[in-house]
């Protein structure tokens, strides 16, 4: 699903965010990406989502070579990926329903099918009763769940999350993480960047550590 070979990312300011990074994540896997803030977690996710371009090396995502990805094809590519960020990036003057429906509008779903899918996704994250609320009327945890519902409503093959529990207390964080494992259980490949080592130790998944732009496989406590 995701393949990095000798990827190098240097920002315009001279900072080397990734150095000769190689990585292989299979379809259906769930993987944690850990490391200190500024270690390169976000850069790695941005490269996968096509939000940044590599300086050197090859990136393959969902059987597509991102080096050959033209700006025109990028939106279509991104529609197959669900993205959850620390700040859920909701549209403030649209209801929860409309926010979650956005990916389906892009795909041109019919109203009926859209309603079914949106409510299905909201049900999954436990917010079915709040579809007509505005984002500002929800708690931080609920907003994050709306972001998650939007990321999965289109049934993406790959789910990327950058510090999805960054603003949440441990209880809510665990709930959100449980939701990610649920989506992984139905076949979605999941990659979550987080610095919350305690939390990921509760889950039996592969952990990749990133330090100063270099990747290494870390043994998860539970697996070991």
């Amino acid at each position: 699903m995701i393949k990095f070979s000798n990827v190098h990312k240097k920002y315009a300011n001279g900072h080397d965010a990734l150095k000769r990074a190689s990585l292989n994540i299979d379809s259906g896997e769930m993987v944690f990406l850990t490391g200190h803030s500024g270690a390169g977690k976000s850069t790695l996710l941005k490269l996968i989502a096509g939000l940044e371009n590599v300086t050197r090396g090859d990136v393959w995502v969902n059987s597509q070579d991102l080096a050959k990805m033209t700006p025109r094809k990028l939106p279509k590519f991104r529609r197959d990926i669900g993205i959850v960020l620390q700040n859920p990036h909701l549209i403030p003057d649209q209801t929860v329903f409309d926010n979650v429906a956005l990916p389906l509008i892009l795909e041109g779903f019919s109203k009926v099918e859209m309603g079914k899918r949106v409510r299905g996704a909201l049900d999954k994250v436990g917010l079915l009763q709040k579809e007509l609320y505005l984002p500002e009327e929800l708690s931080t945890g609920e907003q994050q769940r709306v972001g998650l519902a939007r990321a999965v409503v289109n049934k993406p093959v790959l789910l990327l999350a950058d510090e999805p529990t960054g603003n949440l207390d441990p209880e809510l964080s665990r709930e959100i993480m449980q939701l990610f494992t649920d989506f992984n259980n139905v076949g979605t490949t999941v990659l979550i960047a987080t610095h919350d080592v305690e939390l990921i130790n509760e889950f039996p998944f592969r952990v990749i550590n990133i330090e100063q732009g270099q990747l290494s496989e870390a043994n998860n406590v539970k697996v070991a």
């Binding site: 939000l51 700006p71 025109r72 939106p75 279509k76 590519f77 991104r78 529609r79 197959d80 990926i81 993205i83 960020l85 990036h89 909701l90 549209i91 403030p92 003057d93 956005l102 990916p103 509008i105 892009l106 795909e107 041109g108 779903f109 019919s110 939007r150 049934k155 093959v157 139905v186 076949g187």
Partner: protein
């Protein structure tokens, strides 16, 4: 396995409805473009007010120009044709020519000025009486001063060639000075108006471009989200194009209404003015097709103004 099969099926499903997708996207864009105007109704109204005044100016001038051209003929009643007799023409020949003149169509009045009368008039007007007395013989020919019925250039041309063919006639002169001046004024006004149409059209483009630029900035957050979930450039920019077109269309409608009131307001003083000239001029406003054209121009300018700026500003916004 069944899940991935479902995903595949879902993807197939989407492709099948590409026309429906297209329509749905345009409906979405139309709605959101309109919402951009209603989000800040006061600011939008101000923009539309500025735009409609900008549209009224050139349109109003075009309308007045059209009226002027139409009524030039009314103002041409002063047209006078002078038929000069041959200097040696005798009185019999003059009366023979007068009889011939009476048979020519399109003549309203005939007035004969004999050489002696002409010389007396000239002496009176110029004050050169003494010099004229030294001339000995009268150098002036006899003259028929004619006012035509039909004052259109075509009719006058025919008349002039008819008059030239008459016996004993030396020359036919058209007193077109007034008409020529009027036409020159109208040509000047035409150039002025077309220049103004171009300049004010440009300013409509700039005003709409600037409005849309600010709208893009205020929708920064929403644009980021749309790009994040895979909205294409077309999808992202379409509401802004529609919004620009709405601004243009609304301004066109307002401009048409303002113009009608403006002409109504001008009609009364114009009546007083034309009464002094013994005529009546009815100001013609925009007819139906001209109104449609104005709305279409507004719409096109709005769309174009938005199109000119939207891509450049959308490109600057990327999800973080």
């Amino acid at each position: 396995m069944s899940k991935s099969h479902n995903q595949h099926a879902a993807r197939q499903n989407r492709k099948r409805f590409s026309l429906r997708t297209y329509i749905a996207h345009h409906r979405h864009a139309l709605l959101h473009g309109f919402r951009q105007l209603t989000k800040n109704p006061f600011a939008s109204l101000l923009t539309i007010a500025v735009l409609s005044i900008t549209l009224v100016l050139p349109t109003g001038l075009l309308v007045i120009l059209g009226n002027a051209q139409q009524y030039t003929q009314v103002w041409q009643t002063g047209t006078n044709v002078s038929v000069y007799m041959q200097p040696q023409a005798t009185n019999t020949q003059v009366s023979f020519t007068r009889q011939a003149l009476q048979k020519v169509n399109n003549i309203k009045t005939i007035n004969y000025v004999s050489p002696n009368e002409g010389l007396a008039n000239f002496a009176k007007q110029s004050g050169l009486n003494d010099i004229i007395k030294t001339l000995g013989a009268n150098p002036l020919p006899g003259l028929f001063s004619i006012k035509p019925n039909d004052q259109s250039p075509a009719a006058i041309n025919i008349l002039v060639s008819q008059l030239q063919a008459l016996p004993n006639v030396d020359a036919v002169k058209l007193d077109m000075q007034w008409v020529k001046r009027l036409n020159a004024i109208i040509t000047l006004l035409e150039h002025f108006t077309y220049g103004l149409v171009v300049l004010l059209g440009l300013s409509v483009l700039l005003i709409i471009g600037n409005t849309i630029r600010m709208a893009v900035q205020s929708y920064h957050h929403e644009i980021e989200v749309i790009k994040l979930v895979g909205g294409s450039n077309h999808f992202t920019r379409r509401p802004f194009l529609y919004s620009g077109a709405f601004y243009g269309l609304a301004s066109g409608i307002f401009a048409a209404v303002i113009l009608d009131f403006f002409l109504l307001w001008l009609q009364n003083p114009l009546n007083k003015l034309t009464a002094l000239y013994g005529t009546h001029v009815n100001l013609e406003g925009l007819d139906f097709s001209q109104t449609c054209l104005l709305l279409l121009c507004g719409l096109a300018l709005g769309y174009l103004g938005s199109w000119l700026v939207v891509d450049r500003h959308l490109k600057r916004i990327n999800p973080e």
